[in-house]
């Protein structure tokens, strides 16, 4: 599993800026992120690579064309939660099952 996608899926509902591969940017509210990092945004200000801005009601960008996702500040706490979720997935299915490779502190 691509753990970074879990991180992005925590952005649902947040206004986020996505830099695209062709140097255009899209700022809008994340309505969906799927396992392939395809992202769906609503109420988007889209700035094309020439710098021209326009408004798009909805935008879908393929994961391949996402270069950066600017994680908004208010999502910090969720990042930690997402990391915990990643650790659970990593140790196949249960926090207390399986081997413990690193000493773990209770969260």
């Amino acid at each position: 599993e691509n753990s970074l996608v879990i991180l992005l899926q925590g952005l649902h509902g947040h206004v986020t800026t996505v830099d695209l591969r062709d140097e255009s940017t899209a700022t809008g509210r994340v309505t969906n992120v799927d396992a392939f990092m395809n992202m769906r945004l609503a109420e988007v200000t889209f700035t094309d690579r020439q710098g021209t801005a326009s408004h798009l009601d909805e935008l879908f960008v393929t994961g391949r064309n996402v270069r950066y996702v600017h994680i908004p500040d208010e999502v910090d706490i969720r990042v930690e939660r997402q990391l915990q979720a990643i650790h659970r997935v990593r140790y196949f299915g249960g926090r207390d099952k399986g081997r413990k490779e690193f000493p773990r502190t209770k969260h």
Partner: protein, 250 residues
């Protein structure tokens, strides 16, 4: 709607083909197609699972493969473009013989050409006469795009399989990787650390086979007897962090 393109030498990438019959998630008649600001005419947009197609009413048109589509969007910003439309950005070049001679209003074409060496981009706009259909068109495209995941994406997933457990367990299951010995041959080749690794991995295998023996990486006496074929070794509890740097790059 102005119909000036659509045939002959104006847009050479237009071809005649039958409309898609299978997997059509959405079909929108009376839709104008525009490429980089030049209209291709009025026709029907077919959003099918295999590809996106547009056929002018005369029967010629073109198709776009989803892997080449970078993004699509609903645009209702009349300042940016005078009609509400479905915007589709494609990572490919389309011949536009006429436009090379005719000057483009904003000079965008020429800038795009210079970028084409690095990354070709073509901008399509599909303008339905029925504006209220844009949401359905957008959603149908999202669904179809999701059916065509990028092969590059899967490679990066494999890179992230650097989680030691997954890769090694997978390799052990395969059993035919030359660097792994069978029990009998391999035992004598193992260093003490290697032996501990082997025990740990076998313990993990045991755990995946039977969940009753999951004790945080420490195998019990019982699990040894169940799953090991005559290999008698000391049971060494796994030391946390012992193998942190033991894993090589995969």
């Amino acid at each position: 709607m102005v119909e000036e393109g659509g045939g002959g030498g104006a847009m050479s990438f237009l071809k005649r083909f039958p409309p898609p019959a299978e997997g059509v998630r959405h079909q929108q008649p009376d839709t104008e197609a525009v490429l980089a600001g030049r209209t291709l005419g009025a026709g029907t947009l077919y959003i099918a699972e295999s590809r996106l197609s547009w056929l002018e009413n005369s029967g010629v048109g073109f198709s776009l493969d989803y892997p080449t589509i970078s993004l699509h969007a609903v645009s209702r910003d009349l300042n940016a473009y005078p009609w509400e439309h479905l915007y589709v950005m494609v990572n490919a070049k389309f011949e536009e013989e006429e436009t090379k001679e005719a000057p483009m209003a904003e000079g965008e074409e020429e800038e795009e050409d210079s970028d084409d060496d690095v990354e070709p981009i073509a901008e399509f706009r599909f303008v339905p006469s029925d504006k209220s259909a844009l949401e359905a068109m957008f959603s149908a495209m999202c669904e179809c795009q999701a059916l065509h995941p990028d092969p590059d994406d899967e490679d990066s997933d494999n890179d992230y399989e650097g989680e030691e457990y997954d890769v090694e367990a997978h390799e052990l299951e395969q059993g035919d990787i030359p660097t792994f010995y069978t029990y009998e041959e391999g035992l004598s080749h193992l260093t003490a650390e290697g032996q501990a690794t082997l025990e740990r991995l076998e313990g993990m295998l045991a755990q995946s086979v039977s969940s009753q023996y999951n004790m945080a990486g420490v195998r019990t006496e019982d699990s040894i007897r169940e799953f090991e074929d005559g290999m008698e070794v000391d049971i060494a509890p796994v030391v946390a962090g012992q193998f942190e740097d033991a894993e090589v790059d995969h």
